[in-house]
């Protein structure tokens, strides 16, 4: 267990990794082992307590909470992963263009980034939904646009630093094209600072997409997304408490697991995981 997996040696890293594997297994395999349909009532009244056919009881429409729970993880993880991935693509493109070009492009892009960072993220997403309506595309693209500026700043700083090193200057002197220099010399050498807070950004994507889904402004019924489940059953929490706390617990252990692993990896690299001004959906 050396090198890349060193973070597993710390207790919090190992615990976080275990949690993460467990939640991923539930999200991926859950739909196949669910005893009932995730979207159709099972013929029981709403808000029954735990029983043998419905171990976690039923929700406000008489659907099986366990089956919905087993099917509801994919969208939570999938949408956040897609948004984070897209954000990194956009952030890399902007940051590399700004950091490598050394022209007017740099200040132009960076001032735009400053403006984006001065706007509350959740507010941005809500305004976008009010204007463009709610769809998977709007959620993923909106969150990617929110995250890209922060990433592009880090990419730019790292690129500026790396592009002054000898091996980059040598490649430029050899007459290699900019694309080749960027992909072969720059990218591999900026990956550490750029990826160290990937876990933080992934949790942020989960938090903000889940918040919108909780508010009922994201995925629409009959989606069994964990955040939607909480939003749908929240008003009736005293009737079947499991319909609320089961999905809440899943989201909580998922995000805590991601951050424990991220924190452990950052520590094993000797870096700080929570940078100045960590955020929550709104900050």
């Amino acid at each position: 267990m050396s090198g890349r997996l060193r973070f597993l040696r710390t207790p919090s890293g190992a615990v976080g990794f275990g949690i993460l594997v467990l939640v991923l297994l539930v999200a991926v395999l859950g739909p196949y082992v669910a005893p009932h349909s995730a979207t159709a009532p099972i013929g029981a009244p709403p808000f029954t307590g735990p029983s043998t056919s419905a171990p976690l009881g039923t929700d406000f429409l008489g659907r099986d909470v366990l089956s919905r729970l087993l099917s509801g993880g994919r969208s939570v993880i999938g949408l956040a992963a897609a948004a984070t991935g897209l954000a990194y693509l956009m952030g890399l493109a902007i940051g590399l263009a700004a950091g490598y070009s050394r022209s007017i492009v740099d200040p132009l892009l960076m001032r735009t980034v400053d403006v984006m960072l001065a706007f509350p993220p959740l507010l941005f997403l809500l305004v976008l939904i009010a204007g463009a309506g709610s769809s998977v595309g709007v959620l993923v693209l909106g969150v990617a646009v929110i995250q890209a500026p922060g990433i592009s700043r880090i990419v730019r700083t790292a690129t500026l630093e790396v592009s002054e090193r000898g091996y980059v200057e040598a490649a430029v002197a050899r007459g290699e094209r900019a694309v080749a220099v960027i992909t072969r010399e720059v990218l591999p050498n900026i990956s550490a600072p750029v990826l160290v807070d990937a876990g933080l950004r992934f949790t942020f994507s989960i938090l903000i997409i889940a918040s919108v889904n909780f508010l009922g402004l994201g995925l629409q019924p009959p989606s069994s997304d964990w955040a939607r489940m909480i939003g749908e059953n929240r008003a009736y929490i005293s009737l079947n408490i499991l319909a609320v706390i089961a999905p809440a617990a899943m989201i909580a252990i998922l995000t805590i697991g991601v951050n424990l692993v991220g924190d452990a990896i950052a520590r094993s690299l000797g870096r700080s995981y929570v940078p100045r001004g960590i955020r929550s959906p709104a900050a």
Partner: protein, 321 residues
């Protein structure tokens, strides 16, 4: 010093101008016309045409933007598009949101009053006990708290304190025109939820700052002079550790501006966040536009004030970079 203040003022104005363009573009220019968004997919073209004219959508976008911004600057937020579509002639957004705005300000103010001293206390405690169990507990606890979305924290708190212990109410309903402070018990869970999500950064920052100062020579000297540890921390360490924390505490306040959006929805609290979510739901585009701009203004102002405070506390920063 004056140059610094001026530069910050211009920066804030530019950010707000950009925000107004962003908001206007997202709400009014993106696919589909605002009138059909308000009326829904099944509206007849004639009805959409009438409402479009009432909302002034037949004018070019640049004219509408200028009109909206001019009104906003003069304190006229415009009319609710949905209310106009439902047949009223006059539905000022300000009447709709002035009550909720006050409620949100109360919720955020109470949270801030608790948050700042508590962050400083916990951060200092963690720094004084650096490397010991108390420190680890505070660090892990704040990492876990900040990992969870507000609505998860809020729902779990309701499960424990309402369903489990019957101690606190699960919602914080205030009748229109009522005073949220007349039922203080209702505000406990919303405030605690906001604290969970917002304190971690402040705690970490105060811990790092205090830890650093505790290693300095003047603190060592004060200790060697036999001053009691409590006095060393209060008089020497804390004061110097706090300046860098002001910015993070301001970021926490900024967080509150947006954090209330979700927390109000969790507890059905009639604030500006609930109003915004409701407006997005019924796609009342003019309300979304003006409320979003209002929130952006508060957000940018807090940042501005924080920068000025930091500048007063740390004279070094006043010199042009």
């Amino acid at each position: 010093m004056l140059a610094f203040v001026l530069r910050r003022l211009v920066g804030a104005a530019a950010a707000l101008l950009a925000a107004s363009v962003l908001i206007f573009t997202a709400v009014q220019v993106l696919p589909g016309n605002a009138a059909s968004a308000v009326l829904g997919r099944n509206a007849s073209p004639a009805a959409v045409g009438i409402l479009s004219r009432q909302m002034g959508l037949d004018r070019p976008a640049s004219t509408r933007y200028a009109h909206w911004l001019k009104g906003f600057v003069h304190g006229d937020l415009g009319d609710s598009a949905v209310a106009i579509a439902q047949g009223s002639n006059h539905a000022p957004i300000w009447h709709l949101i002035s009550g909720p705005l006050k409620n949100s300000a109360i919720l955020a103010a109470i949270t801030a009053l608790v948050m700042i001293p508590l962050s400083v206390a916990l951060g200092t405690l963690a720094a004084v006990r650096a490397g010991r169990p108390t420190d680890h507990l505070i660090s892990l606890g704040s990492l876990a708290a900040v990992s969870m979305p507000e609505f998860v924290v809020g729902s779990l708190l309701v499960a424990v304190f309402f369903v489990g212990l019957h101690l606190l109410p699960p919602v914080a309903i205030v009748p229109p025109g009522g005073d949220p402070l007349s039922h203080p018990k209702q505000l406990v869970l919303p405030v605690v939820t906001l604290l969970f999500a917002s304190m971690a950064a402040g705690i970490r920052m105060v811990r790092a700052g205090t830890f650093e100062v505790l290693q300095t020579e003047y603190v060592q000297t004060a200790r060697l002079n036999g001053l009691p540890e409590r006095r060393v921390i209060m008089r020497y360490a804390l004061r110097n550790a706090l300046a860098p924390s002001v910015q993070v505490l301001a970021q926490n306040l900024q967080y509150l501006v947006g954090g209330v959006i979700v927390v109000e929805a969790v507890f059905a609290y009639p604030g500006i966040g609930s109003q915004l979510v409701n407006a997005v739901q019924i796609r009342d585009v003019t309300v979304v536009q003006s409320v979003a701009m209002l929130i952006a203004v508060v957000y940018v102002l807090i940042n501005l004030v924080a920068d000025l405070i930091v500048m007063l506390l740390v004279p070094k920063l006043r010199e042009p970079v």
